[in-house]
């Protein structure tokens, strides 16, 4: 049995009129301890829904999620979450944000500040401990969010497009950083993204989803050594393969719009 297990997860959302929308169907995934899995798919494919079910924010309509054999029924500190928006507490300084988890558990102040300091250093924010979130850039805020999740020492780290709101340069830098952070902590990670390159740079396994309803379309092992070179032939081959897979999913979503726009120009 896997460390993190999703078995037959299905999620439907009620709509005002007509049949309920099926967001996710037959989602089964088993992750080993210390494994990094990227969940890749076009927007609206239900990959965030899967993550929210694993986090316990949403209940599955059918199926279940297990962490170390324990059934997930609600959010809990065994599953750390990093959101697309940083979700930092704006009234807390960086180090207080980072040590909020241990504080909730009643860890004495001195002890938890030491724990937090280790992760502040790990994410490269040494010297910013006393800053307010408002004084940080988008990338730095996400570093704090990652440090906050890690300081709480969760069994699983769930990341929902955490670099989606960053500009390309920052995004690339954060991806490199995350590879280092992951190497240092060996956390079991589920990373949701719609970027093929991001998935390939980070993950041991890339799980590609279909668009609406979200199902698992393909699973790719990425056995390239880290840090990965995005120009290496094996990387490029995999990237093309995944791009083709995603392309097939496009007509249902953006394809319709793109088709309507370009119809006039085509011969």
């Amino acid at each position: 049995m896997g460390y993190l297990e999703a078995a037959g997860v299905r999620k439907t959302f009620e709509v005002e009129e007509g049949e309920p929308t099926v967001a996710v169907e037959e989602f089964t995934l088993s992750m080993a301890e210390g494994e990094f899995v990227a969940l890749l798919g076009p927007s609206g494919c239900g990959k965030s829904t899967v993550l929210n079910i694993m986090a316990g924010f949403l209940r599955p309509s059918a199926g279940h999620v297990l962490v170390e054999g324990q059934r997930v029924t609600a959010p809990g500190s065994d599953r750390g979450v990093v959101f697309q928006e940083h979700a930092l507490f704006p009234w807390m300084r960086v180090l207080d944000n980072v040590t909020f988890g241990p504080r909730l558990r009643g860890v004495p102040r001195r002890e938890r500040l030491e724990m937090g300091q280790r992760f502040v250093d790990l994410v490269g924010l040494t010297g910013f401990e006393r800053h307010w979130p408002r004084q940080l850039s988008g990338g730095m805020k996400q570093r704090v969010a990652i440090a906050r999740a890690l300081t709480n020492d969760p069994k699983v780290l769930l990341m929902d497009e955490p670099f989606g709101a960053l500009d390309a340069q920052n995004r690339r830098m954060m991806q490199d950083e995350l590879v280092k952070i992951w190497a240092a902590t060996k956390k079991t990670c589920l990373f949701v993204t719609h970027s093929i390159e991001e998935a390939l740079l980070l993950a041991d396994r890339v799980v590609t989803m279909t668009a609406r309803p979200g199902r698992i379309k393909a699973v790719h092992e990425v056995s390239l050594a880290r840090p990965r070179d995005d120009a290496a032939p094996a990387f490029v081959t995999l990237k093309r393969e995944l791009a083709d897979l995603l392309q097939q999913e496009l007509p249902e979503e953006a394809g319709r719009v793109a088709g309507a726009e370009s119809r006039g120009k085509r011969p």
């Binding site: 986090a55 316990g56 924010f57 609600a74 959010p75 809990g76 500190s77 599953r79 750390g80 979450v81 959101f83 928006e85 979700a87 930092l88 507490f89 704006p90 009234w91 807390m92 300084r93 909020f100 988890g101 909730l104 558990r105 307010w132 979130p133 408002r134 906050r148 999740a149 709480n152």
Partner: protein, 272 residues
């Protein structure tokens, strides 16, 4: 800052407009000058009985008389006691009820209809009833002030608590927050800016209520002094009383603002 202004005034009087402090000082001096001019013009033209028109010098004299007679500090103490006690009482009830209604839907559904019915009624309409119920002594004044201060604090607290960013709640939940910790460490903190806004508005209303109660039925306090001075044609005292009320309101308002700036220093500058 003060030295700069002085330099400005003495050496570059022609460029006064450049310093906002100088402009503000000039504006106040202008008001005094216009006031004095009106007094003189009235004396020359005889538009109304000069005894009914207060003068700047007369107001200063009135102030020193009140200080000399030892009634000023008593009036100030009485008024402060009533407004502070009433405000604290009303605000405390409002914060507690606002937090409960903001976090528990059931409580909100029961509390909201009656309060929404009361809210549009100008609170002064209830003052005679309060006097009827609680007499003309201190209780009616304090309860009425509390009643008036309650509404803005309640409405703002409920909004602040209800509209706490759900993302922050999720973050706290996945860090292991219990519901008590969630309320204390997240919801209350997130609602604090709006609660303080409510407190500031509530204090303004409490002050209004206080003066109203003192004008209607009282034997001490700044509002009472204005009414009493009217009976003795002491127009200078009446103006001075009004200015004192303004001064106290301004001082307490500044204290609240300073507390707010300190408590909410985490906020981005442009949100203040």
């Amino acid at each position: 800052m003060a030295t700069d202004t002085m330099v400005m005034v003495s050496h570059r009087a022609g460029r006064l407009g450049r310093s906002p402090w100088a402009r503000r000082a000039l504006s106040l001096i202008g008001v005094l000058a216009v006031w004095q001019l009106i007094v003189w013009a009235n004396e020359a033209v005889g538009f109304m009985n000069p005894a009914l028109l207060p003068t700047p010098a007369g107001v200063v004299r009135g102030a020193s008389e009140q200080v000399a007679e030892g009634i000023l500090y008593l009036d100030v103490l009485y008024s402060l006691y009533r407004v502070v006690l009433g405000f604290l009482l009303g605000a405390a009830v409002a914060v507690v009820l606002g937090c409960s209604a903001g976090s528990v839907r059931l409580i909100e559904d029961f509390l909201d209809p009656p309060l929404e019915m009361l809210r549009p009624i100008p609170p002064l309409a209830w003052l005679p009833l309060f006097i009827f119920w609680f007499g003309i002594g201190e209780p009616s004044k304090i309860y009425f002030t509390a009643f008036v201060a309650f509404f803005p604090v309640y409405v703002n607290t409920i909004e602040g608590v209800k509209f706490t960013d759900p993302l922050l709640r999720r973050a706290a939940l996945s860090l292991g927050a219990t519901s008590g910790q969630m309320f204390r460490l997240v919801t209350l903190q997130a609602a604090l800016p709006q609660i303080i806004t409510g407190l500031r508005l509530g204090f303004g209303m409490a002050f209004l209520a206080l003066v109203a109660t003192e004008l209607i039925a009282s034997n001490a306090g700044l509002g009472y002094r204005i009414m009493e001075s009217r009976n003795y044609f002491k127009v200078d005292w009446m103006v001075f009383g009004a200015l004192m009320i303004g001064l106290i309101g301004f001082t307490i308002g500044s204290l609240i603002r300073a507390g707010e700036a300190r408590l909410l220093r985490w906020r981005p500058r442009d949100e203040k």
